[in-house]
Symmetry: C2
């Protein structure tokens, strides 16, 4: 039990292959055959030509599974022939490590450095450290590192400012480069409005997101749910420990008010750590002195 | 993992010994030495002269631990000399079994019947089945079975209506009788009001509780928090799957309104299953189509 809950690290590696079922299967197999590691989810997209894997377990197992998958990807994916809508710079594009439960960010950073080093040593793919593992502030954001993509990276990497954290200043001929780093769990949180006005949703998205003056750990865009005839503020909560879900929801409600628009529901897409939910429940219920130690399941897995 | 989350049964046996530390230790030891069983909590009270143990694990382990504790209690507790404020009818007064996670109520009932049978067979203590395990509707409520307590049980048990479910119609001379049964997890949920009027708290408690016309799975009393200068509606939610916490909270708020009184906070005492919290979070956040499968920790322990 301890291993699972106490020292769990989640990883969500992105592979540049969303079409070839045999190759996808080989990658997924890396996450099902390792003791102490669990494949939680995977999402393949033909348009994006990309595979997103979600797995978790104790550090040693996660390390083994990820490196096996990198091996498969480097041998089987040729970026020179890869086309897809999603920006990418490598056969394995990005490998985030996320501390779960009582695992510390330091543990996730340590694992990311270890894996990064090994990727260069074993596969000769240069690595950029990003997010919490970044060596410099201007390398925290993945889009900044990835700008130019695989095709532009051949030149970009020669710029001393973009010298990789591990490896030579030359891309792997077929596998490109990869970003590896630790980050907080990301919660995909959408809020639905009782209007079909994209202008309203866009204005609210701008109000709540960090980029344009809103909440520190919130990204947001407007999305048109045409089938339902409504619009949505679609958010990525990049650190719910500091910017809780309830705060984003109430801010959407507050901003919507001025347009005479109401919140009619919300949605969490994919997985969410239990304390993100407990935190919001405690807010709405006015719970005093509540701790996640009172959650029976946490106690059981203590 | 499966054992813990998938087929976990919680038990909260009550022992009629809250003073003698050596005896209490012997009972607790029964729950720490069994593989697959975890002692989650214990509460001893000198005034009540009672020990409440909370433990959980897979059925076979829980069975073993509980029967070992019954053995200790029967050998060491003499009800003829037991005094305490809490009503009691046996050395082991009551043994509830509670299904956790995906464990079914049927599993908990099966375990309760098995343990009940064994308590009579091994220790010659007559057993009444109660709550979900009850053999008749008038035996569901523990207070009905316990009425008369140890002292009155000698006569009561001879009444054909109170023939034990297991055992002869005669109490164990020193250990009395015991109630064994399966029940839903009980959540102790208190709501604080911005008044010091016990009359208001009492009126609200009456309004929300089942007994006097309120919510089906809610017991409630008024409590005076003298130190804070406020009163509280103290509730036992006896089946949060059917009567959610948010419903009780909003009903207290609604009733308080007519007295010009506001809810200033709430409190969960002790352990609570995660889905009781998720359920209320989903209500207040208006979460659409959210399932506990989306909780990362549940997925990990799947």
């Amino acid at each position: 039990m301890k291993a699972t809950m106490k020292k769990t690290i989640e990883t969500v590696p992105n592979f540049s292959e969303g079409r070839n079922q045999a190759k996808i299967r080989k990658i997924l197999d890396c996450f099902t055959g390792v003791k102490g590691v669990k494949l939680l989810d995977h999402h393949k997209d033909k348009d994006h030509n990309r595979l997103v894997v979600t797995a978790a377990g104790e550090a040693a197992g996660v390390r083994k599974a990820v490196l096996a998958a990198v091996d498969i990807a480097v041998k089987n994916i040729d970026l020179r022939r890869h086309r897809g809508e999603h920006p990418r710079m490598g056969a394995v594009d990005v490998i985030p490590f996320i501390p779960i439960g009582e695992t510390s960010m330091e543990d996730a950073i340590a694992l990311s450095l270890d894996v990064a080093k090994e990727i260069w040593r074993s596969f000769r793919v240069p690595v950029f450290l990003y997010e919490e593992s970044a060596s410099r502030p201007d390398r925290r954001a993945l889009p900044d590192i990835r700008r130019g993509e695989f095709e532009g990276m051949k030149e970009k990497i020669k710029d001393p400012q973009w010298k990789p954290d591990f490896g030579d200043a030359a891309v792997h001929p077929t596998a490109g480069v990869v970003a590896v780093g630790a980050r907080r769990p990301l919660v995909a949180f959408n809020v639905n409005l009782d209007t079909d006005s994209m202008a309203v949703a866009t204005a609210i998205a701008r109000a709540v997101r960090f980029q344009s003056g809103g909440l520190r750990h919130c990204r947001a865009i407007a999305v048109n749910l045409r089938e339902r005839g409504i619009v949505q503020v679609s958010m990525n909560m990049t650190d719910y420990t500091r910017t809780p879900l309830y705060r984003a929801l109430e801010m959407v409600r507050m901003e919507a008010k001025q347009y005479g628009v109401n919140v009619i529901g919300s949605e969490i897409v994919g997985l969410v750590p239990s304390d993100a939910i407990v935190q919001s429940a405690a807010y709405y219920m006015g719970l005093e002195n509540f701790t996640t130690d009172q959650i029976l399941e946490n106690k059981l897995n203590d």
